[in-house]
């Protein structure tokens, strides 16, 4: 009997400022789970997300909205609200090469392949300022009526090492 969380693709990148995972969304599934674990950056950096359309183009136009909450163990939480920007900036915040402090993000991507807006939600955990735990919970949307087939990740500074795994909900 087949299970309901089906593995599609896994990609590991090491020491790069950007990378793509192509052909991971299709008509086979409506909802996807993306697991990004062991996120380590060369310096404190955000791991940003853009989507790739069915023509293979990385969408970098100001068509993303997102909102999230940074939950800090040591301080007042921070809300971030962005409309009409060119990426999901806060997919993860990594504190660089802090020993042991590899961050993680789990995201749910809704209906990327059909020609409607692509919505997502995500939660993440990491260390910031070398010492303190931080969680992140967010929602976002790509406001283009277009078919999405992949993802592109990039840092705002420095390089990143991570493994990205994509699953489909059956």
């Amino acid at each position: 009997m087949a299970g309901s969380l089906e593995f599609i693709k896994s990609t590991t990148y090491s020491g790069v400022s950007s990378f793509s995972i192509t052909d991971c969304f299709s008509a086979k599934y409506d909802v996807y789970k993306v697991v990004a674990d062991d996120i380590v950056t060369s310096t404190q950096a955000f791991l940003r997300l853009r989507f790739i359309n069915s023509s293979g183009t990385i969408i970098s136009t100001n068509d993303y909205d997102f909102a999230d909450l940074f939950l800090k163990a040591d301080a007042t939480f921070t809300q971030r609200i962005y409309k009409s920007v060119d990426d999901i900036f806060d997919f993860n915040l990594s504190d660089g090469s802090l020993s042991g402090g590899a961050g993680n993000t789990i995201a749910e991507i809704y209906n990327p392949f059909d020609t409607s807006y692509t919505n997502l939600s995500w939660e993440a955990s990491n260390i910031y300022s070398s010492t303190y735990g931080v969680g992140l919970k967010g929602v976002g949307v790509l406001k283009q009526s277009t078919s999405i087939t992949g993802m592109h990740f990039l840092t705002n500074t420095g390089t990143v090492t991570s493994t990205i795994k994509v699953y489909g909900y059956k």
């Binding site: 009997m1 087949a2 299970g3 309901s4 969380l5 089906e6 593995f7 896994s10 697991v35 674990d37 062991d38 909450l69 939950l71 800090k72 163990a73 040591d74 301080a75 007042t76 939480f77 020993s99 042991g100 402090g101 590899a102 961050g103 993680n104 789990i106 939660e123 993440a124 955990s125 990491n126 260390i127 010492t131 303190y132 735990g133 931080v134 969680g135 992140l136 919970k137 795994k165 699953y167 059956k170």
Partner: protein, 191 residues
């Protein structure tokens, strides 16, 4: 069916799916629950589901989480946690700590009808001795004292580079209590 043939689909492409159940425990007035074979050497990401948990004492949290590190329970105030509390009566709170002796993957529940705690928690890097062990979680519950629907979401971390090879769940408020009931299921997310 031979596993090897199944993996390459020679016998109809059997894929058992990548959310693999490791263990389910059903509480019955237990002072604690222990998951001791969490297969941390196989999975880098675990999922712990709490279903309809109730404490033996009203308004206690029936699923506070601690980790075993190489078989030794970590109960010192070395965990960090940050969560957003949301309640249907309009109360929203930020709750955080840099020195706490558990991670709250649940919220207060009660002994009455419908006063249960339900949650999911993702656990990361447990088996990697070079990394800290993180958690993200989301809960929904009703307690006895206030009675309104409430929820929390947040994260926690044991900021120690260690191998976590077991989970410890207990119930407490101002004092400890028992996990009166509830079903707790641990899964691994496999590649």
């Amino acid at each position: 069916m031979p596993v090897g043939q199944a993996k390459v689909g020679l016998l109809g492409g059997v894929d058992l799916g990548k959310l693999e159940l490791i263990e389910t425990q059903v509480a019955s007035n237990d002072s604690f629950l222990q998951f001791s074979d969490i297969k941390e050497d196989i999975y880098n990401v675990h999922l712990l589901i709490t279903d309809e948990a109730k404490p033996s004492t009203n308004d206690h949290i029936p699923n506070r989480l601690r980790f075993y590190e190489s078989g030794v329970l970590e109960s010192a105030s070395v965990y960090q946690s940050a969560l957003q509390f949301c309640r249907a009566d309009g109360t929203f709170l930020e709750i955080n700590s840099t020195a706490i002796n558990y991670i709250n993957i649940g919220i207060e529940a009660g002994t009455g009808t419908g006063q249960t705690c339900n949650s999911y928690a993702y656990l990361y890097n447990l088996g990697d001795s070079s990394k800290y062990s993180f958690a993200t979680f989301h809960t929904a519950a009703r307690d006895n004292g206030n009675g309104n629907l409430k929820s929390t979401f947040g994260s926690g971390v044991l900021p120690q580079t260690s191998t976590v090879d077991g989970l410890y769940l207990f119930s407490a408020g101002a004092t400890t209590s028992n996990i009166a009931s509830g079903t707790f299921s641990l899964y691994g997310i496999k590649e």
